[in-house]
């Protein structure tokens, strides 16, 4: 019996999934045998978070062809909404169901914000999305830092001043405490759940890319006017891709939030730096290449931990990587140079000469 030939995309997708699963098995073996340092063990869940973020940003940058600079903002929204939910229902629901619902809520809230940002911006052409998402990321971070929400028998109380002005009944508790954030979120995130979420993210993105809708999205990226003239609803497809991307960033936020005992919105974790770091993952992995994003996210998360003495220069190096990669990959002159001196061609020439 002959095995059915797999087509090229299926094969490539399977390699990506296999890569993630093999990594998981290897890590599990090292964990079981007790050879993993506690530093590395602590990095496992953040690693999954970064991979999900990189893949979801690649959906916006690589597949949709728009630039989002506020991915950390969507992550922040997902993190805080889900942590809020988890803390409210900490005693009511079993942990498995609670975390499942928290993921759905984080994704839904991030998707909602994605839509709110996308509706006014994505119907326009031009670079507006970059600036609006950049602003969104900064504003969300600032808003979360002045937000106070408490709960008592009368229901929820909101304030933007301080926790006293919530006016809680005795017995009520403050859940989001302004700049102190949410503390005491149940630690539901594990490496296994992280890997499952990574696989689900990859499944969603890879299937979207190779579906009819995905082809429509890529057609818009390649030529907006041509896509419009064959009847593709531009705003709808752009909004779809961007909303999915935001929702997946929200899922990454959920994973992030449930890995920490105290969740605060700092420039370090939800600020502009974070959005740029994710963009560096995408650019280094290859814009539009999903597997590349996964690998780049893993490598660039582990590398700074191994090269601690370079920590001060990390962001500087990221900036240079961004510029150099774009110049090397996209400049017409560099492309011509690479074609002229590509290894493949040199070898082909050699073998052709030897053939003579």
């Amino acid at each position: 019996m002959k095995m059915k030939e797999l087509n090229k995309t299926t094969k490539s997708n399977l390699i990506t999934y296999a890569l993630v699963i093999i990594t998981y098995i290897i890590v599990q073996i090292i964990l079981e045998s007790g050879h993993m340092s506690s530093l590395m063990e602590g990095l496992l869940v953040p690693l999954c978070t970064y991979v999900i973020l990189a893949v979801s940003l690649n959906l916006t940058v690589g597949i949709l062809g728009e630039l989002s600079l506020g991915h950390a903002g969507f992550m922040c929204v997902g993190a805080f909404s889900s942590a809020f939910f988890s803390k409210c229902t900490a005693e009511l629901l079993p942990s498995g169901l609670r975390f499942f619902l928290a993921i759905l809520i984080g994704a839904a809230v991030a998707a909602l914000f994605g839509m709110l940002v996308g509706i006014p911006v994505l119907r326009l052409k031009g670079d507006y999305l970059a600036i609006v998402t950049l602003a969104f990321g900064e504003i969300i971070k600032n808003l979360v830092n002045v937000l106070y929400i408490g709960i008592d028998e009368n229901g929820m109380h909101f304030s933007t001043k301080d926790s006293i002005s919530l006016g809680l009944q005795p017995g009520g508790k403050t859940i989001i405490n302004g700049a102190q954030g949410i503390s005491g979120t149940p630690n539901d995130s594990t490496f296994t759940i992280g890997i499952i979420l990574v696989l689900i993210t990859l499944f969603i993105v890879l299937n979207l890319v190779h579906s009819r809708d995905g082809r429509a999205i890529m057609a818009i990226r390649d030529n907006r006017i041509a896509a419009e003239s064959v009847g593709i609803n531009i705003t709808k497809y752009k909004l779809m891709a961007f909303t999915i991307s935001a929702a997946l960033a929200g899922v990454a936020g959920v994973l992030y939030a449930h890995n920490l005992s105290t969740l605060t919105a700092l420039p370090k974790n939800f600020g502009y730096n974070m959005s740029i770091t994710i963009l560096v993952f995408v650019v280094l992995g290859g814009i539009g290449n999903i597997r590349g994003s996964v690998i780049a996210a893993v490598v660039l998360t582990l590398l700074p931990e191994l090269l601690r003495e370079l920590n001060d220069y990390r962001m500087l190096i990221y900036a240079i990587v961004l510029i150099a990669m774009m110049l090397f990959n996209s400049s017409p002159k560099a492309i011509a140079f690479r074609e002229k001196y590509s290894l493949k061609k040199l070898f082909a020439k050699k073998s052709a000469k030897e053939g003579k």
């Binding site: 507006y128 602003a135 933007t160 814009i287 017409p332």
Partner: protein
Amino acid sequence: MSFISYLINGISLGSVYAIIALGYTMVYGIAKMLNFAHGDVIMVGAFAVFTIVSTLGMPIRLGIIVSILICTVLGVVIERVAYKPLRNAASPLAVLITAIGVSYLLQNVALLIFGANAKSFTSVVSWSGIKLADGQLNISGVTIVTILACIVIMIALTLFINKTKAGQAMLAVSEDKGAAQLMGINVNGTIALTFAIGSALAAIAGVLLCSAYPSLTPYTGSMPGIKAFVAAVLGGIGSIPGAMIGGILLGVIEIFGKAYISSQMADAIVFAVLIVVLLVKPTGILGKNIQEKV
């Protein structure tokens, strides 16, 4: 009386936004790219003045002139090294991502040299200002100088663009690069000149901004840079009087928002303005609606 003083402060802040927005709008009009690094050139300009005046103890006028020169050269170098090779790139994202890289590079170099702690910037305007209405209305010297500088720059730039050959060349290149080249215009030179003027204006904006708000960090330029972009969109991107109107309107909106609504929400209000403009009139107040042809 506080209303008038808020209004004047708003116009003064708006004048800074307008000067920054001019640089944005000129570059956008001619190179069709969003220069994310523009905000960080402001920061470089302010740090140059800070180093020359506060650290080296040189006179303020020399500091301003050197700072303008540094920023002009920096702008041209950035254009040549980072943006020019990508001008004909297949994907419009390429140059945008490079611009973010440059912006990030400038911030991090400044962070390594000057550290993250805020430096206190000595105002370049020593004049204490004027008192009106029996001392109830106090207008500081910086405010007046900022508004005057903005008016002078606006007039000079309008004259430059409409009356000189180089200015006309800019208009031609922004209209159609290929046709301009066929008419014998040096396109590369014109684009470099645009970057030079934009960056020189950024240096002036940086000095004025830090004189009014004297805390200087490597991130000083990024937020005003983004807001100036909002101002450019509000006024109609690509239009020089539009940048002026947009900048001043935005400054007034921000100060009023801070005074009457909430000081923490002021940034959010500014971006709400952007969202409203994009929803209602994406071409801005003075922008032209260009129909795309195949």
